[in-house]
């Protein structure tokens, strides 16, 4: 399958800003999907509202572009009502961690058979750069003009604690690892979650003295620490980005009974 057998060439070039990491995520996802051997006609792509939520609109497949924060809630209904369908969710850090936080943790807890890809750009891209639940401490946004005083969420750690079967985080620099993680996630039974630390040059870069996409990209690359090494750092250092660190790697891979098997809908 070629890139444009999977994506809609007639809608290209896509709407994302120059250098936006969403395009990279789409590349990796294409390869992961092809290698996973899933059927495009039997896969539904679901998204909420935000820049990241626009990905399904470019895929040649059935797609549901839902309301802000709710894609996991819609996706669960699709999956349970028709277990033959593979259901993939694309979400942003605001969509997933703020307004949709409760859906996220409960879907992890239930281990619903969904693959969720979160593009975490540490800010609200679409609405012009407001702080999100993952904005690092002391970073700037249009609503934290004096620096963000709140502690950010570590979405991947939340997913692990809440019970997801597969959790991995990579940055847009780690294209190959990201692809591999997505492929694993797509084939995993139960809830699988891949978080991609991604550059939003237009908003995150602009408010944080990184004037080019390349600078934000290089900041992500420099901030990434493999999980194996990160565990030796103190808890404080691990606090996402408090020390400018983003731990990357696989966070968990386990085989808790998935939702529909537990419900008896699937054997």
């Amino acid at each position: 399958m070629n890139f444009f057998d999977f994506y809609r060439q007639d809608r290209w070039p896509h709407m994302f800003c120059p250098g936006c990491g969403i395009g990279t995520v789409m590349n990796a996802f294409f390869h992961a999907f092809v290698e996973s051997g899933l059927d495009q006609n039997k896969t539904v792509f679901v998204a909420g509202i935000g820049c990241s939520g626009r990905i399904p609109g470019y895929i040649r497949a059935d797609s549901l572009h839902t309301t802000h924060g709710r894609p996991i809630a819609f996706a669960g209904g699709i999956k349970v009502a028709d277990p033959d369908l593979k259901v993939v969710v694309f979400s942003g850090d605001g969509d997933l961690g703020a307004i949709g936080g409760n859906h996220f943790i409960n879907a992890c807890r239930r281990n619903v058979e969904l693959t969720v890809i979160c593009i975490n750009n540490y800010i609200y891209g679409m609405t012009g750069g407001q702080a999100s639940t993952t904005t690092p401490r002391d970073f700037f946004s249009s609503t934290t003009p004096y620096g963000n005083r709140e502690y950010p969420f570590d979405l991947s750690e939340v997913a692990v604690a809440a019970g997801a079967n597969y959790v991995a985080r990579w940055t847009t620099f780690h294209v190959k690892q990201m692809k591999k993680a997505m492929q694993k996630a797509l084939l995993k039974d139960g809830f699988s979650f891949v978080e991609i630390a991604s550059q939003c040059p237009a908003q995150f870069g602009r408010y944080n003295q990184m004037n080019s996409a390349r600078q934000v990209f290089e900041w992500l690359k420099a901030s990434a620490v493999p999980r194996s090494k990160a565990s030796k750092l103190s808890a404080d250092h691990l606090d996402l980005n408090l020390m400018g660190k983003i731990t990357v790697g696989e966070f968990v891979e386990r085989n808790r009974e998935s939702y529909m098997k537990a419900l008896g809908v699937l054997q």
Partner: protein, 372 residues
């Protein structure tokens, strides 16, 4: 045992609604417990599995309505049930269902509000919310049962209309009807409507329509490869958010597809249509009016069974003969304003509202006194 055999049954209104849903072909229920609608979820939990469907208790009502919309896109008939506080939470996604033309059924067993109000007491405070609760312009269908029988019948009607017009249909019940125990009959033949599906792949024509204004439904997983969004879209289904004409055409059609079919959708019960005094009542309060009209031939009853769209023409006919109109509501006046608007131009001298709040229903004596 999937659906119940034809016959006479004794049940609570909430339970009868479940049986109606199963009769209509409901295979998916998602909800969150709330008085006085919990019995619906509880019976669904037991019954849907027997009927080959799935019951889900989810983390809140926002999830519940989202899940049934998702389920509906797989071609599954899906329902949720709630009361005021949960109905409020559902409003954003109710609008989403309107915009994406997704058939779903919501049973709202009304209790007193605002806010948590009186959880166990009946009210009719959600009537306007059912009509206008989500932002933007749209039309939904809302039905108001006044008996256990109608909890069964109108749940089926809600499914049928929702499927036919690809629109959310709401059963606006109340705590008294939901908790009322009584007999109801399941007839030999029950009409069941299924949505019309696209049979050939549609891709860029997902929302093409004819003079009926209701597009066929491209369910997921059939190779249609459709894009469904709550953003303003053209017939391709893809967003077109800056073209005024596209938006106007879409919203006008969403509204007109209901208005065009009022005759098919609108139901009303009328007793003594040419009476001097006309009582307009729906849901619980309407039950007190039967006694009044039995005693007084000069008093008529107009009971809108479809609240939205309001059976305007039918009311106008009755109002033309009435000298006065009395509207009974368990709220501070909601349908009253519809009646006022419709009957204003009739020769009728007085259009009054008799309010009952706090869960008590108007008594026949009060109604007679008011009409004296």
């Amino acid at each position: 045992m999937s659906k119940l055999e034809p016959g006479t049954y004794f049940m609570q209104g909430d339970e009868a609604s479940v049986e109606g849903a199963i009769h209509a072909g409901c295979k998916f229920f998602a909800g969150y417990p709330i008085t006085p609608a919990t019995e619906i979820a509880e019976r669904m939990a037991r019954r849907l599995r027997q009927a080959g469907g799935v019951f889900l208790q989810l983390e809140d009502e926002i999830t519940a309505i989202a899940a049934i919309i998702g389920a509906s896109w797989t071609g599954t008939k899906a329902m949720t049930a709630t009361s005021g506080p949960g109905f409020s939470l559902m409003q954003e996604n109710l609008g989403y269902a309107c915009m994406t033309e997704t058939p779903i059924v919501i049973v709202d067993v009304q209790r007193s509000g605002p806010s948590t109000g009186q959880p166990t007491r009946a009210a009719q405070g959600d009537v306007m919310q059912a009509r206008w609760g989500s932002h933007g312009d749209y039309e939904v269908i809302a039905l108001a049962p006044n008996s256990v029988q109608e909890m069964f019948d109108l749940t089926i009607t809600a499914f049928n209309l929702s499927e036919r017009y690809r629109v959310p249909a709401i059963v606006l019940s109340d705590a008294d009807i939901g908790h009322m125990r009584g007999t109801f009959v399941i007839p030999e033949k029950v009409e069941i409507v299924d949505r019309k599906y696209h049979t050939k792949p549609v891709s860029y024509n997902a929302f093409a329509y004819d003079e009926n204004l209701v597009p066929n439904f491209p369910k997921f997983g059939q190779g249609h490869r459709v894009h469904i969004t709550g953003l303003t879209h053209d017939i391709s289904g893809y967003p077109k958010t800056t073209d005024a004409k596209v938006h106007e055409a879409l919203v006008t059609r969403l509204v007109n597809k209901i208005r065009l079919h009022r005759e098919d959708i609108c139901r009303a019960e009328v007793i003594n249509p040419h009476a001097d005094s006309l009582v307009v009542a729906y849901g619980s309060p309407s039950n007190s009016v039967y006694e009044v009209v039995n005693e007084r031939a000069d008093v008529g009853l107009f009971r809108p069974i479809t609240l939205w769209p309001f059976p305007e023409e039918q009311l106008r006919e009755c109002a033309a003969h009435a000298r006065r109109i009395l509207v009974l509501e368990m709220n501070m006046g909601q349908i009253y304003w519809e009646v006022e608007r419709i009957a204003r131009k009739s020769p009728c001298e007085k259009i009054e509202l008799l309010t009952r709040l706090g869960g008590d229903v108007h008594t026949p004596e009060e109604i007679l006194e008011k009409l004296a």
